[in-house]
Amino acid sequence: MSHFLDRVETALRDPDLKTALGRATERLGSRRSASLDSLPDSDAVRDMARRAKLGLLRDLAGNLETFEKNLIKNGIQVHWAEDGAAANRIMVEIAKSRGCKRAVKSKSMATEETHLNHDLLEAGLEVLETDLGEYIVQLAETTPSHIILPIIHMTKESIGKVMHEKIKVPYTSDPEKLAKIARVKLREAFLSADLGITGANFGVVDSGALVLVSNEGNARLVTTLPRVHVAVMGIEKLVPSLSDLDLMIKILARSATGQKITTYTSLVTGPRREGESDGCQEMHVILLDNGRSRILGGPLAEILGCIRCGACLNACPVYKNVGGHAYGDTYPGPIGSIVTPGLRGIKAWKELPDASSLCGACREVCPVRLDIPRMLLELRKQAVEEASIPWALRIGLWGFGVAASRPWLYRAGAGLFRRASGLMAKSGWIHKLPGLAAGWTRSRDLKAPAPKSFQELWRQRPVRPAPAAAKEAAPVR
């Protein structure tokens, strides 16, 4: 079995995970619906958001140039990173050259993608995640399983255990007490850190500003207290202007958690101005490519419009059952099934686009109306063209093509299957198909076909004369 299927098996065997995922995705999903209902013209707003994002992507290069110019005008230093390793190198260089020893981080998927923490630790820096969920993920030495709720997969007892073991506090599983412990620990870190690291939810091209959203307040602390602030931003995270930002803010929180807006929405425009007593003294932005520009010219281009709300995760029947870790990389769920093969290559990740029934629930809920099923099909096509598929499958598909284009052959084969399955079935169900077909029945039963096909029944039906009344019925005009 492949690694992916191993991870899926592990997830499916965990009843706690299933309960947690079910509860969380149900709650987030229903809150999303309720809050979008309260937004007038929410469909038009989503269409407008899509228009803004795709329009910007059509000239991403030009927009990035303008963005850089405006960032510099605001006193922000701009760096370009071709890939994750480059981004991490730049971060380490900035930290070392500014004599930074201790970093506090607010949640950033981009830095998960580049495995930044690992490189910072190697370089001898202390890094502390400050988003409560990410802090616990860091203590537990694991990875987040949902892009909005990183520890959705952990029970409060296991969280209590992690905190008791790793930071030596008395064991408790009371969420409020646990949060208070984290507040005190992290407050001390915020006050003593000299480097603040964030991602960016949006970059506003016209204003040269970054936008950070959070509910806890850690993003504010990270951008207010340490003397150096470095933000890592994927190059696709731009919006043209502040009025487009208004649009995005309206749908981001609603799609993610059902809130009208997150508790804190910060517009970060540069280092502290003359006379201010807080804010960083030096600010940097690292613009991360890591495969995004390669996606831009191809059929997956619109995935770059994703605003990372997580709504597709909550709607996806596959995600709801297996959770984020099964996807094996930074981004889980429908979005991850496209981003991971898109950025990292289809060869190693071809199972992800397969793990979908193409039900389209993701497309329904996406605030930017991304056509995720189309892109999944595109990736499956790429997988067939580039990656190796088992010879048995190739032969099977070729054989099916031959049979299906010859009606007599198809009927004969179907008839044979019906007779054979009549012999294999127990009370109407086949529990195990033999040979190469065994994969179908590994996790499901196959209903035995009816003894006679519809065509046979139709041909054998008694012919009745047409009722006389029909001839006299008035024709419909």
Binding site: A24, R27, A44, V45, D47, M48, R50, R51, L54, G55, N74, D131, L132, G133, I136, L149, P150, I151, I159, P175, E176, L178, A179, R183, L186, L191, S207, A209, N215, E216, G217, R220, L221, T224, L242, S243, L245, D246, L247, K250, K260, I261, T262, T263, Y264, T265, L267, T269, G270, R273, E274, E276, S277, D278, G279, G297, G298, L300, A301, E302
Partner: protein, 199 residues
């Protein structure tokens, strides 16, 4: 050629979409009613005072005997700086460690947004960000004239500034549901938000 490919996969939107979000006109009384409604949903305590003296009395009542981290008195509306006399107060110019000991943060705000029950806080000299961030309780004073309908209008005002300052929109107390979806307030930012709406 590459441009053609880019355009093929990033289609134009269908015609007929509005060019921008509509911002219907609103009246102050309507905005105030909506604002208070939203605050109730957020669990934010709000006081409406009819005159300056009322505002100052309310502030004094809330902060008396506590340690406070405040904006500079000249930055507070309604002469509320007066209420700080005789109290333990730290300001932006004081050491971080001192600021971090305050129980209550006292600020004004640049604007308030009725649609979402938000405060728009713009940083500047004498208006430290820490006042609305470090203490467990945050008290904010809002002038009726600064109560706008939504973010769109705020941005209209804001983008006129020659040098864009740091802005944060605050909507309710700091919260998390990371642990088994149970709501906890005051994780990093203030767990209690009290707004005083003046004349």
């Amino acid at each position: 050629m590459r441009q053609a490919q880019i355009r093929a996969y990033l289609p134009e939107s269908p015609q007929g979409l509005p060019a921008r979000l509509a911002y219907p006109a609103t009246v102050p009384a309507g905005r105030r009613a909506r604002f208070l409604e939203e605050l109730k949903l957020l669990g934010v305590e709000a006081f409406v005072e009819d005159d300056e003296a009322g505002v100052r009395r309310r502030v004094k009542g809330l902060i008396a005997g506590k340690s406070i981290l405040s904006w500079d008195p000249e930055e507070l509306p309604y002469g509320a700086g007066e209420a700080l006399q005789g109290e333990t107060v730290a300001f932006g110019r004081d050491a971080r460690e001192l600021q971090a000991q305050a129980d209550i943060g006292l600020t004004g705000c640049e604007a308030a947004l009725a649609e979402t029950g938000s405060l728009a806080m713009v940083s500047g000299p004498g208006r430290p960000r820490t006042a609305s961030l470090l203490p467990l309780t945050h008290i904010a004073l809002i002038r009726q004239a600064d109560l706008l309908q939504g973010m769109g209008e705020f941005f209209e005002r804001y983008r006129q500034s020659p040098v864009l300052p740091y802005v944060v929109f605050i909507t309710g107390p700091s919260r998390t549901a990371d642990i088994e979806l149970s709501l906890t307030l005051g994780v990093h930012g203030p767990g209690k938000l009290i707004l005083i709406l003046g004349p």
